[in-house]
Symmetry: C2
Subunit: 299 residues, 2 copies
């Protein structure tokens, strides 16, 4: 059995761990990201955490992979810019590689999580899978023949020409309609709130369950747009599995059952409907996927 | 040098030829498709034409590839249904393979043409290319690492949710807005015609050149939708080259120059703009690409 280091860089914590070649986590460690400190100092913390993970697992890892948010250059292993963490032109993969004495790859965090789901989660064994994350934005991670297809940003696919403004500058993006942010905005605009006046991604689903007709209609429209975006991806790429993650995916079959029905009607004649399922690994997807990206490097 | 048979099945003619491993056509032959005859009879004509091509080139081909319209099963080498030709459950690739004594692959005709452009045309040497054909429909052929990505139908990607009806049953597809058919319909609806009252894909461009302001506006809108679809593909897949073929592409820079400008504004932050160019091989793309698909089989 071979072992790999996974490193998942988040806004609050950086998780490290040892993952075996089957995608099982053997040991884990975590350090606060401490975004207020210089990137070189954070680097030392990550190295210490990786060494702790290695020591707990008591194995010699063959390679390491990191998943990072922000704009990155995977070929050079550089985080070009991460505003949340205050990182700039941070050659983190080469630095980690020197410290650990093994090859280290750097991937986008959503891409790493998608690979995790394909190795050990909802899309296990799929030759091609699209992992769609319904969170602050709409993330898309595409894994083809066991490898990350880098830089897949289908969240910024326009589905409503001239529609709602998106953070990217375009109008009518999939993300503008299907992110949790988009759903929360629509919920709020329609006067549906929690008892304390707040709105979150569950609010509209709970209201519908309590018989609110407007909420039902909003959910139907939300799923309509989601189906439109997914059918576009199926017509273009025919992934074997579409895995849905992020906050909204917690609704489970309340979301997936009507979604599958709507997608079915929009898929191009003769095409097989992919399995549309919820992601299963949660936060572990990023850690496992990062390690498995490291495995690709060592292979 | 190795040689391959290319077979391009069209509605009017079936072209056959010998193509070398660099994608150069060595010999060509053609037979009328004769759609009114049984498929077994047409098969004998194709075999005779291939033998004529082989004889002219005086080489021993290592494999053959066929490009066919209609719904096909590439894995089994079967044309499931081709309404125009009256073909049904036609195991054409196995039959050809038996007759020629070499492996034969069957691909979608648009996919084969896309591979032709990547081997020897506008996208020569590109690691990834999307070939978009603006004809009766909007065809999309995606070639990744020198191989056809089968069954890519981005023409049926909705870009205007709830928009114009498409032949596929969805509303607002890329194809409904950007096919030659779509452009001709819009031209006609706006009362712009040729002197004899007819309308074709050039009509609106010629009218604009003659100072027709409505025609200018229609072209601008057409390019706007085309840019929207292409930007979606770039944000999702970042192809190195986008090759534009089909009747409308004959407009050349009258189309491409404003298209590049519009696409640039819609591409996701930090992404490199692919080369957007016209296809260069014309009808030869299908023949060359089919042969090169055969090469993939023999490799």
């Amino acid at each position: 059995m071979k072992y790999y280091v996974g490193i998942d860089i988040g806004g609050t914590n950086i998780k490290t761990g040892i993952v075996d070649e089957l995608g099982q986590i053997i040991s884990e460690d975590s350090v606060p990201t401490g975004a207020d400190r210089p990137q070189e100092v954070v680097l030392q913390d990550i190295i210490a955490s990786v060494k702790a993970s290695i020591s707990k697992a008591n194995v010699s890892p063959a390679a390491a992979g990191m998943g990072s948010p922000g704009s990155i250059d995977s070929n050079k292993g550089i985080v070009i810019r991460n505003y949340n963490l205050g990182w700039k032109d941070f050659a983190i993969a080469p630095a980690m590689s020197e410290a650990l004495g093994i090859p280290v790859t750097l991937e986008n965090d959503a891409d790493a999580a998608a690979l995790g789901e394909v190795v050990a989660g909802c899309a296990k064994g799929a030759k091609s899978a699209m992992i769609i994350t319904l969170g602050t934005g709409v993330g898309s991670g595409y894994v083809l023949n066991g490898k990350i297809f880098r830089g897949c940003e289908f969240g910024h696919m326009v589905i409503v020409h001239g529609g709602l403004e998106c953070t990217c500058g375009r109008k009518g993006c999939f993300e503008a309609y299907c992110s949790a942010t988009g759903l929360i905005r629509t919920t709020s605009e329609n006067g549906i709130t929690e008892d304390d006046g707040s709105v979150n991604g569950r609010t509209v689903f709970d209201a519908a369950e309590n018989g609110n007709k407007v909420a039902e209609k909003l959910i139907d429209e939300y799923i309509e747009y989601l189906a439109c975006g997914l059918a576009n991806l199926i017509n273009g790429l025919q992934p074997e599995v579409i895995g849905i993650g992020g906050g909204i995916a917690k609704q489970g079959e309340r979301l997936f059952a009507p979604l599958r029905e709507k997608v079915k009607r929009e898929v191009f004649g003769g095409f097989t409907l992919p399995r549309i399922v919820g992601c299963t690994l949660g936060y572990k997807a990023g850690l496992i996927g990062a390690a498995m990206a490291g495995r690709s490097l060592a292979d």
